[in-house]
Every structure is written in C-alpha cells, then in structure tokens.
C-alpha cells in the first residue's frame, strides 16, 4: 500500500538505476528487500535501513565536509531521498552502489549550493580521535590531521573513489557504477589519490 505522498512523488534519482543483474541473481540483498518493503508502505523497514546505513553515510560525508552537523544533515537528506525513490526502486544493483550514488549527488548539490568547497574548520568538540596505540608513530592524531587535510585537498572524484573503496569497501565495479565511470578511470583516480596521500605522509615523517 503506497502512501499518498509516495504515489505522487518522483524519485530524485530517477535517472539512475545501475544494471549489474548478474551480481544479484543468486543472492538477495536484505537492504534492497527492505527498500521494496518501504515502497509498500512499511515504515519499520525504513527505520531498519536508517539504522544500518547511518554510520557509513555520516562518516562518508564527514570525510568530505569536516563537519559533524553537515554530515548528519546530508545523511538525513539521503534517507529522505531514498524514501522518495523507493516506489521506483528496482534491485538490479547492490544496494550500497545505489545509496552512495545518491549520497555523492547530495554532496555535490550541497557544494553547488554553498558555492565553495567545504573546508570549514573542524569543531574540536566533534572531532573524535580514537588513538591506536599499536601505531608505530608517536602521534596518531598528527597523522590523522595531515591525512585529513591531504584528503580534503584531493579532487572530488579521487576522494570519493578512495572512500568508497577503503571506507565503504565497495568493489571497483561497484564504485564505477556508483560514480557513472569506467573501472579503469576509477582505478586511475584511486592510484592518483593514494599517491597524493603518500606524499603527504612523507612530508610529515
């Protein structure tokens, strides 16, 4: 049973429905199933999606915006857009690919609205260092800060590709689908991004 709003709504991401059917033929993605349930009016399924994806999304946005508040607002907007898109969703791709496609668009729209790259200073209250004492360096926070700055300064495509690969553990193919690019291009962005981060590390040590 669709809600009145969903019956009228046009999903934000209507132009995107990645087609990698061979990956999903033999396995059922529980998040995709949940989004289909949302389309049928099951709000508990939406709550489950929010609980499952809030941390990955907030941290993805946080690495790009350096602001907890902004990251939370963006993540919230992604969930609202997911809800809007639910009636038209077809699980032809891995759910994570779909989510991060919407997330990246949300981030880019946010930048366009702000007309500037997000380089706001980090509110110290919200910057949570979790020191790892197994690290060989004396100051984990120092490395974190240097890499954070270097990551911010990367071109958006290199940063997104790196985060999707390492933070969100998407495959090269999934990143390519999510970013609407070829796998070779994604590999190139990741290679260049890593090179820039390594350079930042070498300058630090």
């Amino acid at each position: 049973m669709l809600t009145a709003w969903q019956q009228q709504a046009r999903p934000v991401s209507s132009d995107f429905m990645p087609d990698i059917a061979e990956e999903t033929d033999h396995e059922v993605d529980p998040d995709a199933q949940a989004l289909l349930a949302v389309a049928s009016g099951d709000t508990r399924a939406m709550r489950a999606i929010v609980e499952r994806w809030q941390k990955p999304l907030i941290n993805y946005f946080y690495r790009s915006t350096k602001s907890r508040h902004e990251a939370e607002d963006l993540a919230q907007q992604v969930f609202v857009n997911l809800y809007k898109a639910a009636p038209r969703y077809e699980p032809r791709a891995k759910f994570s690919t779909f989510v991060f496609h919407i997330a990246r668009r949300q981030l880019m729209n946010n930048w366009r609205t702000k007309k500037r790259k997000p380089l706001d200073a980090v509110d110290p209250e919200h910057f949570q260092h979790e020191p790892d004492h197994t690290q060989p360096y004396e100051s984990t926070a120092e490395i974190e800060e240097a890499l954070g700055i270097a990551l911010e300064q990367l071109p958006e495509k290199q940063r997104t590709a790196l985060l999707l690969l390492k933070q969100q553990e998407l495959s090269y193919e999934e990143i390519a689908h999510s970013m609407e690019a070829t796998v070779s291009l994604v590999k190139s962005w990741i290679h260049r991004g890593r090179k820039a981060l390594k350079q930042a590390m070498e300058e630090l040590t």
């Binding site: 009145a4 609980e51 990955p56 907890r68 933070q167 590390m201 040590t205």
Partner: protein, 152 residues
Amino acid sequence: MNKKHHSHEDSIDQFLAHQPIEPRDDFTDRVMHSIEVLEQGVPEEPVVEFSGWRRVALWATGIAAALVLAFGLSLSLEQPPSAPASDSTITLSAEDRALLFGDTRTQDTASADTDYAAMEDLLLMADQLAMLDTLDTDPDWAISELLDTQTL
C-alpha cells in the same frame, strides 16, 4: 625504506577505513520524523544554524539595532508636547468661550463626546452582527434588519 613505504600504506588504509563519527542516539528518530513530515505534506522548516563569526555578527547587528531604537525613542520623548502657537492665532479659554458664545463645554470635551458616541454605535453594530451570526440568519435579512435598527 621499503618498511617505511609499507607503514605509510598501512597508515593511509587505516585512516581511510576509520569511521570516527558515531551517530547520535536520536538520529534515526530525527530521520523518521522528517519522513513523517514529508508524508503529511507539511513543508519542513529549514534549519538555519549560525556558527562562529556569523553568530557574533548577528548579535552585533541586533545590539546596534536596539541601541538605535532606544536613541530614537529618547529623542522623541525629549521633544516638547506641541509647538507654541503663532502670534496670529487667537486661543480662547473655556471661560472666554462660555462668556462669548454661551458654550459651557470645552472644544476637547465636545470632540470626546462625539468620539464616544461613534464608538458606542460601532459596539452596538458589532453586538448585533455577532448575535445575527450566531443565530445563523439569512444574510440579506440580517443586513436589512441591521439598517432598520440603525435608522431607528
């Protein structure tokens, strides 16, 4: 050198994989609330947050506006109540008017009486309208009835 290179690689991987932000406890509820608002068709109020120097600038503007307002108010209070009458105007006191025209009321009292009468008429009309509205009467009849009452 090779060991150092590998440790850099490890640090980068650890940094990228690390998710430093734990969502707030009420995050899910906030999202579900936005979705409920969306379903009800009520436009969500945009959240405007001012931080750092913007907040300071906002406060400064507010204080400046309050000072200007207070200064303007104090100036207006210092003004004399009315400008002195010019030499060519002859002002009659209440006693003079009574002596010359037999009018025992001052001009101000007469004006106040007129205003009071007009106000009374208005209140009466308002009462009548309210009463007619309560009785759910025919509007044409109500208007004619009202006009008749006023004529009387």
